[in-house]
Each structure stands twice: as C-alpha cells, then as structure tokens.
Symmetry: C2
Subunit: 615 residues, 2 copies
C-alpha cells in the first residue's frame, strides 16, 4: 500500500506517529524557506509541511497542482489550527516524498466554482469528477443505492437480474436494438424496463423482487433526459394497491433517514389524478406550498353555498371570461401590494411563447379589505370579494386569473403557480413533501389513430370495479367525436405515482394477471391477436399457468438522487452522462465502426458517412 | 394483502389463530370426504385440510396443480406431524377459499427431478424457475451478491455506475454494437467490461470502486458461455499486488462464511503461472488433490541428486520417450492393482480425439515394493523405481505417463489428472480450495500476425522490475523464428488470477498509469499512434492529469455462484439465460424488427430474411 492513512484520517491523537500519505496536490504555498502543501484524496485534505532541507529538493522537482504525491513524515500539532478542516489540528512534517505521477495543468480549475464550461467539463469528465461538488453527488447516489437495498433486503425482496439482450416490442418509446451476428437479420433490443421479466418472476413465485438496473430509451432527448438511466425496479405478489403504497413510502422514508437524516414521520398525502389536474394544473403537484387553483367555470361550493357553473364571472360583460372554456385563479399570499410594474411583468411572463396566454387578470385583496382589479370595470367589489374568497384568498393576497382553452390554461396556470412559489421562496430545497397521485385514467385517446393508448403501460390493471367494464365492452370507438362517452374513457387504472416536490420520482400499478383481460388490453391498444401473440406470447402463456395477483413500482433513481441532492439536473448525479445529442463527448461515442464489423453483422449503412463509402 | 402469513411461517405457536394464506397448489390428496392440499409459496409449504362441507365446494371447483389459491382458516395441530417440513407441526383447517387464478397442466412437472428436457424448460423458464432446485440457485446468487456488497461497503468501496452505451474499441473479443438513430451511421458498443471507466474513476480520485455489472461479449458460444454475463468489478488506488490479494481473498472468505457458513481460515495458496503450467498442466489448477505432474524430460532433483534432462528415460531403446519433446508422469494413489482391462480403458480414454494422445504408459508400484510396467522390456526395475519415486509415488500407486509435443501433452496430462481425481472422488463438491496464480507472462506471441498480444488486457502493467525492459526495447519482432528470445517474451505481468476448485473465478492486475508506458503497450500490440489516440485518447489524456497507481480485479459472478452451488453450469444460476446459439427461446429473441426501425436507424440488412425483402 502506498499509504498508511488517508488524507481525511489524522487527528490530534495521531501526533508523534510516523505516517505515509498519498494523494493529489491541491495547493502549494511557499513561505520563504518552507512550503505548505494541501494533499487531497477522496477522504479529505491534510496539510504537509516541507522544511528547509526538503525545500531544496522541492525546488529541483517542482510540484504542480494535481500532481500525485506520496509523502512520509511525522504527525505534528499545528501551531494555528484550522477548525474548518477535519484534519485541521495536525500537519505532516515531511521527511521524504515521491512524485508518483505528474499532472499537466488542468483545462479548468478543480474547485466547487470551476471556470470550466459544460462542454469542457464533459470532455474531461474524469477531472470534473474530482470536484467536491460532483463527488458529493455521487456519494449521495451511493448512499441512496445502499439505503434502498438495505430496506428492500430487510423486507424480503431479492435482487434478481433480468436480461439486457431481449426482444424488440416497441410500445410507446423507441427501442435501442442490437444486431445479432449469430442470427443474421435479427436483432436484440435493450430493455426500456424489466417490466415483463419482473412479472414473470412473480408468476415463478419469487414474490418480492427488486433491481437497481439500467434501462434504455431511444427518445429525442429533452434537456434532462438520458438515453440510459437507472431504475429502482420492484414487484410484489399477493398485494393490493394499499400494500404497495405502504411498502414504498416506507422505503422513501427510510432513504430520507439514512441519507439526509430526516425523520419523515408525516403521513404521505394522497390525491386523485383528477384533483391534481384541477387543483394544481398537472399530475405531479408540488405541495410544499398551497395556491390551489380554482376553476371559476366549474360548479363549486363557497361558504356552504353551491354556485352554478361560472356563476361568479359570467354575464358581467367581460367577454374574455364569458367566452373562455376555462377561467382559473390562484391566490398568491402577501402580494396585494404588487406595483403596476410588477403585474405588467407577470403579464409579460404569461404571454411568453413557452406559456402562451393572451393576458393576465389580477385582483388585489388589499390589507384593508378593499379590492382592486384589472377588470373592476366589469366586476363590482362584492363580486371581486366573492371570487377572492372562493379562491381562498386572505387580506393582503394577490389573485391571478388566466382564461382560455382548458388544457392550455391549466398548463399555464400550473407554470404560473410554480413560478410564484419560486419567487416567494416557497419551494425550499431542504423541504421534502411526498405525495401519492392515484386513480389515473387507464386509457388516453389517440386522436390521430382513433384508438386508445395505455396511459401507464399495457400491463396495468383497471380498478377492480372497472374490470368488467373493460371485459364487457368493445374497445372500438365507433364515433371518434364522441370518444368521451365511450365506457373505456371512464376506466380508472389501478396505478399510482409518487411525487416529491413536484417531480414524479416513482410510478407503478397493480398488474393484469389474467390472460383474458390482458388480451382485451392488447386489443384495446389496436394490436391484432397475432401481433399480441408474436410480441407478448410468453407473457400470455405465463398467465395460463397460475399467475398470482401482483403489482409493483419503479423509481427513477437518477431523478430521486438529484432531488435529494437539491438539484434540478440528473446529469450532475451520473458519473459518465451523455449530452443532449446522446453523445459521450469524453469517449467520442457513438462512432463509426469497422466495415468488418458491419459485414459480420449482416448490415449495411444507408447513409453516407465521413470517411466511408456507402455500401 | 392477500395473506396474513406466508406458507413457510406457521408453527405450533400459531395454533388456534385465524390466518389467510395464498400460494400455489403443489399436491391434492383426497381421502374419502376430506381433502389435503399442500400450498406452496417462496417461503415453504403448508398443509391445508378441507373438511366435509368444503369438499363439496371443491368438487364443484376442482383444484389442479399450480392453481393459485387463497385459503382462510384456523391453524390446527397436526395429528401426525411431519418433521421434514418447517410447518410440519400444523395444518390449516380451511373455512373458505378463493381460486385466484387457474393453471393449465404444466408442460413438465414442477419438481426437483423434473421430466422436462432442457429446451422445454428454457421455453417455459417461468415454470422452471418454480422448481426448488432452481430457486435455491437464485437464492444463493442473491446471497453472494449481498455478501459481496456488504464486504465491499465495509471496506470503503463505492458502487459507481458506468455507462452501457460506449465506444466500440474491439480488442480481443467482439463488441455488440447499437446503431445510433440520432447519429446516423454511428454506433455505440456495449461494454465487454467497465475496465477503462473504472480506471478513469481512479484518476478521478474515487479510490475504491465496485460494481456488480452486466458485461457483453459477442463470441461464438461454447457450452457454458453467455453473451451477457455478470462481473463483480473492483478497482483500488494506491495499491500494489499484495494489497489486492489480501483484500479480495478477504472478500471470497467473507462470502464463504455468509453464504455457506464455511470458515475458510487457511492461507490462500499461491503458485506461479510457470509452476501451474508444469505441475498441473494448466493455469487454473484444481488443488483439492495432488498428483502433481513430473516432467521427465526436464532436469530435476530427486533424493538430493540433480538429474540431467531426460536422464531417467533417455537412451533405453524406447523410441517413443527418446523422441518425445515432453514425457509427463503422474502418480495416481492406490491404483497399482488396476487390471489390464482398466489400464486399457485409460489408454482408450487418452486416445479419444478430445485428448488426442497416441498411447499411455503405466508403471505399477505394487504394495510389495515390486514394479510392473507396460514398458518393462526397456526399463529395469530400478529405473522404474527411480521414475516412480521422482514422481512422488508410494507403494500401491499407479504411475501414468504420456509423451509427445509439449503443449498437447501437457494439456492431455492435465485432463487425465482431473479425470483420475474425479474417478477417485478427490474433487469433492463441498470442499473449497482457493489459489492465486501469479506471474503470468505479459505478452503472448501471435504467430499469424507476427506481433504481441496482451495475455490479460492492454492495461495490465508489467512487473515493476520489467517496466524498463518494456520502455527500453522495441516491440518489433525482427526475426519471427526467434521470438522466444525477444526481451518482451520474458516480461512478467503484474497480474493475478483467483482459482477455486480448478475454475478461474477472478482475475485482475495492477494497471499501467503512465502515458508513456501505455503508449508503448499499444505500440507493442501493433496499434499505430493515431489508432491508439482514436480508440483510447480519453485514457491517455487522463494519464496526463495526475493518475494514481491503481489496480483491480473482476470476478465472474455467474461462475462463482455456480461453483459455490456445486454446479458446473452457469446457466442454472441465471434467471433468464440464453441457449448456445445466443437465443432466448422463451422470448424468441433475437427477432426481426420493423422496416420502420431499420429506416430510422439508417441501416439495411445485407441478408435475405424470412418474410422480408432484402433492401
């Protein structure tokens, strides 16, 4: 071993001992005839002191930043201790040293606030990984990994590996495929998830399965997507929804405790998908703060009185509200004193193309109880007060209203709510609020193909009470215009998403385990019986031989780590991520391959390529 | 939850409790008006008793094997207890039951000794996985996984995930490749191992890395190879060979204790590659038994006297020995009384094409001290005795001698030794003997290309004392006939293999961490500087910025599990293995993909394919 101790280990108790350390030169500070060097490794930093004699040797072998150094010496008490540093009580009086490896000047500084841009840091990722900020993220990732495994182990789950070279059954996202040399013209696919395998393991009786596993999706990458990503993938037999919710909120709480030392004792809140969509404008509400959305075009109760649809706003002569499909309001706490400039700025904000609204209406519910609005020529003060109170406003609050087509307005209001939450500091990085979103629709309607698509995936079971609705009705949509009236449109899924601070961190469902129901599902998605058999014959077959009721969940491991680490970006929590074009710029991958490889794989390129003739 | 207890849980202490169980029907036994059912789940088997009344209901809803059943009832003391069964003290007096799912008759019996052939069991792997024998294997696999992780965690290793979509740099085995849709004409490769990534992590200062990770090799599959396999992959910084050996024999001993409750307190033996090859005929000796090979054509010492090369056998008029490049002997304990029939059978055995010898010479060292041999017309008794004693034979042993070309004879003798060990019951499934094989040659000579190839891989360091031999000499082989005399032929690798019961379970090396030496290595393998830079520029670059001395090891996880489970076949220890053609017969993968997929990936097939026009 090149060292007797790590650079994070030595304390006052070691004073007088002879030690050997090895690590990287973080800083070199010369003071006349002596030199101080901070030596760094994974575990910490230790100060080395080079006295007069060694200083000469140092002059002949100058040490630069990031040199790899081995130093032997005696642990001394420091004259001026550094309480910021775990090893701050001591320093090493160096007796001899060896330069284990030199280092060129790094292309950016190895510091928390580096001067390296994104591209440079990705190209030299092995240097970026040295920065404390990145190391902390990967340490957190490992801690989450370890905690999840410990919890699942204690609860009788088994880590069972599923294959990576499987069959291409594109549903939803695109598969990455792998040409088979031994089976010319045929391809494996990389798994988008181990979904069908974990179900087979339930059929096999393994009862509680988990895996922390890479999955692959060949999608056009958005800002924070990766073509390969990691899931905590779990499945259980003989369970109902309630059992899964209990088991996995337990897991997340266990992770909170193990990784962040947070006692999450509160009950995890639950919300139907319907409520999430209407009260928060999306299916993954950030419930660290309120500002629930009020739909003024719906019927609702206020002060114990049921109001008719649109009663508070319709017919006042304000055409924008009268004609809008939806009018939504939120009450922003303590902002009634916003200036004209501030409300104008908010109006501009919602008019940006990303939000796409025509305008913004405000109502100030002033501290003195008076009300002022951008639309007070249409609505007298008592109407404004009624609206404000219906939206749950207190004196001193500012109401913001958006009007337009339902889907877009809801989305815009969701964004506006999050923006106001952010501006008011209500989305605290160190506050964690879990939420289960339940009762999703099982199907969505695909207009272009006039068919149903599975909202979650084709293996999700309907709610027990909806199973017969599915079995007894044909999925065929005779009249596309009236798809809303089709019985399939009302079927709820036995599915659940776990949301943390406005991010979906996990999702799952109770699965179909009856062949007949699974066949019906495939048919509903527009698959012919032959196609279903070709793609999923093994699963349909398995359901014939004693499949138990089962369900599961998968957590987005990268995302979970990012949120626990207080970051928006999953890339910071992946050792070797790809960029937005799916490239690894460090490796320069993907890349061309040899013609010999193409020939062996029985494929040809159908594009011209740099330095290669098209076959 | 569909159950209150598992089928392995109930004991006498539960008598009188009302419980609900769920599981699979293992057996149905009718006795007049009552029926016994053994209900099975992952945890065990519990006997259910259906009394007279329920028996009628059973008659209307007959239960078959592998039906999924939920039963509610009371825990009763059994009149005749079954000490073979953990739950054998009790049975459930069933009060009501629900058939959760029916089961068709399985295509083979779900029993340890199944009637299903290999192909059938692979097609219905989800049923095969239900068999106790297979379940035990996967449970062992998980136990090994868990133990390895615990040990590595306790020793400060971090599980850090490395990417699966990387760059194709074929060296040795073939890469599986993945066409990139977003980068037309370019391909990712699946990793053959995370080798370069774990080295980069060392450069990044992560110090102790591990991963239990899938790796991929597109090789022509031999009997017990899989295109995807799992490694316990580890790397450490600031270490020398001795540190790695200590750390990882510690790990394997920890696994022995955790998984098999074996206290492996003995020192792990060590052997040079040279000795392994000459004394055991291969580089992964099974040292559970002796029968070391004696090379009668070499110079060796016997009874304190140094004999000249071939002194005991040459010049006696026996041309086979005189002319042979190598004459090898082993002494088989206690077999001097083998009959003519038995020695003839052994002769036939070595003449089989798989072994390929011309014949077999025997010397019987009889219990009375006399000697008898198939070649005693050439060798008087005192010569035979000298040979016997040189080979370490005792009275009562049988010496077996093979002669021929060195490599083939050594291989044949290795096989014969293992065969005799097996026949004599010396290769005990429940005895475990670890061995480190050390001091491998760094290079092998590739005759067809007149160049060096790396015996381990191109990142393995030479022994410290051989580094300058490598730096100071040109790798070019001017005279192919004299390659044995080239300095590179004598360079030893800083590499080590761990052998368990005659199987290589792990291998690794201290790595090159200096750019100059790594470049020399690439040049020695026949890579131009441009090619080296194109393929491994990132690694060469990394070595410029302060790479620490480091080394590591990778264990073949599938193989390790198989040996610990007392099996020769890794397939039995993989949940969803592929067959010898690399096919998953359950999924029917690989398979053809849609033309749309091919178009998106900018590739065309260069073979005709069933049901597809060639592009």
């Amino acid at each position: 071993m090149y060292r007797t101790h790590t650079c994070g280990e030595l304390r006052a108790a070691h004073i007088g001992q002879n030690v050997t350390l090895a690590g990287w030169v973080q800083t070199v500070r010369k003071f006349g005839s002596i030199t101080f060097i901070d030596l760094r490794d994974r575990y910490g930093i230790t100060q080395l002191l080079f006295g007069e004699e060694l200083n000469k040797e140092l002059a002949e072998n100058p040490l630069g930043r990031e040199f790899v150094l081995q130093a032997k010496g005696k642990v001394n008490e420091r004259t001026s201790k550094n309480p910021q540093l775990a090893t701050g009580d001591i320093e090493i009086l160096v007796q001899s040293f060896t330069i284990l490896n030199k280092a060129a000047t790094p292309p950016f500084t190895i510091q928390d606030d580096t001067d390296g841009g994104d591209d440079l840091r990705m190209k030299y990722r092995y240097l970026d990984l040295r920065r404390q900020a990145v190391k902390k993220n990967l340490e957190l990732r490992y801690a989450v990994n370890r905690a999840a495994r410990n919890y699942l182990h204690e609860n009788n789950f088994m880590d069972l590996e599923t294959p990576f070279l499987i069959k291409s059954t594109p549903e939803g996202a695109r598969d990455f495929v792998v040409p088979s040399r031994m089976n010319p013209g045929q391809f494996y696919a990389l798994p988008q998830s181990p979904q069908t395998f974990k179900q087979l393991l339930m059929v096999s009786g393994y009862d509680r399965y988990y895996q922390i596993v890479k999955c692959f999706r060949d999608e056009d990458l958005r800002a924070d997507r990766q073509p390969e990503f990691t899931q905590i993938d779990c499945e259980m037999s003989f369970v109902e929804q309630e059992d899964i919710l209990a088991m996995f909120e337990g897991m997340v709480k266990y992770i909170f405790k193990a990784v962040k030392n947070i006692d999450y004792t509160a009950t995890v809140e639950r919300m139907t998908w319907e409520n999430a969509m209407w009260q928060f404008g999306n299916d993954k509400p950030d419930i660290r703060f309120g500002m629930k959305i009020l739909n003024l075009k719906s019927a609702f109760t206020v002060g114990g009185k049921l109001l008719a649809t649109g009663e508070l706003i319709n017919g006042a002569g304000f055409g924008v509200f009268d004609n809008a499909e939806t009018v939504l309001a939120i009450s922003v706490p303590g902002c009634s004193e916003y200036t004209r400039k501030q409300t104008d700025e908010l109006t501009d904000w919602v008019k940006r193309p990303q939000i796409g609204m025509q305008g913004l209406v405000y109502i100030k519910y002033n501290a003195d109880g008076s009300l002022k609005s951008s639309v007070d020529k249409f609505y007298p003060e008592d109407k404004l007060r009624a609206i404000a109170e219906a939206a749950g406003a207190q004196k001193g609050d500012l109401l913001l209203l958006l009007a337009g087509r339902e889907e877009r307005t809801r989305k815009a209001m969701s964004e506006l709510r999050l923006e106001m939450g952010k501006r008011l500091g209500l989305r605290k990085e160190d506050e964690f609020k879990l939420l289960w979103v339940l009762d999703f629709p099982l199907f969505e309607y695909a207009e272009d193909e006039n068919r149903w698509v599975a909202r979650h995936h084709p293996f999700t079971s309907p709610k027990p009470s909806d199973i017969n609705v599915m079995i007894d009705n044909s999925p065929v949509i005779e009249n596309a215009e009236k798809y809303l009236e089709h019985p399939y449109n009302h079927i709820k899924a036995n599915a659940y998403d776990m949301v943390l601070n406005g991010n979906e961190i996990g999702g799952g469902s109770i699965r179909i385990y009856q062949r007949e129901l699974q066949e019906k599902m495939f048919a509903a998605l527009g698959m012919s019986p032959e196609e279903a058999l070709h793609k999923f014959g093994f699963l349909l077959g398995a359901f014939e031989y004693g499949a138990p009721p089962h369900g599961g969940i998968a957590f987005g491991f990268d995302r979970l780590c990012a949120i626990l680490g207080g970051s928006e970006s999953i890339r910071d929590f992946i050792a070797f991520p790809k960029n937005n074009s799916g490239r690894d710029v460090m490796l320069d991958a993907p890349s061309t391959i040899d013609d010999k490889q193409l020939v062996e794989l029985s494929i040809r390129l159908s594009v011209d390529n740099v330095g290669r003739e098209n076959a």
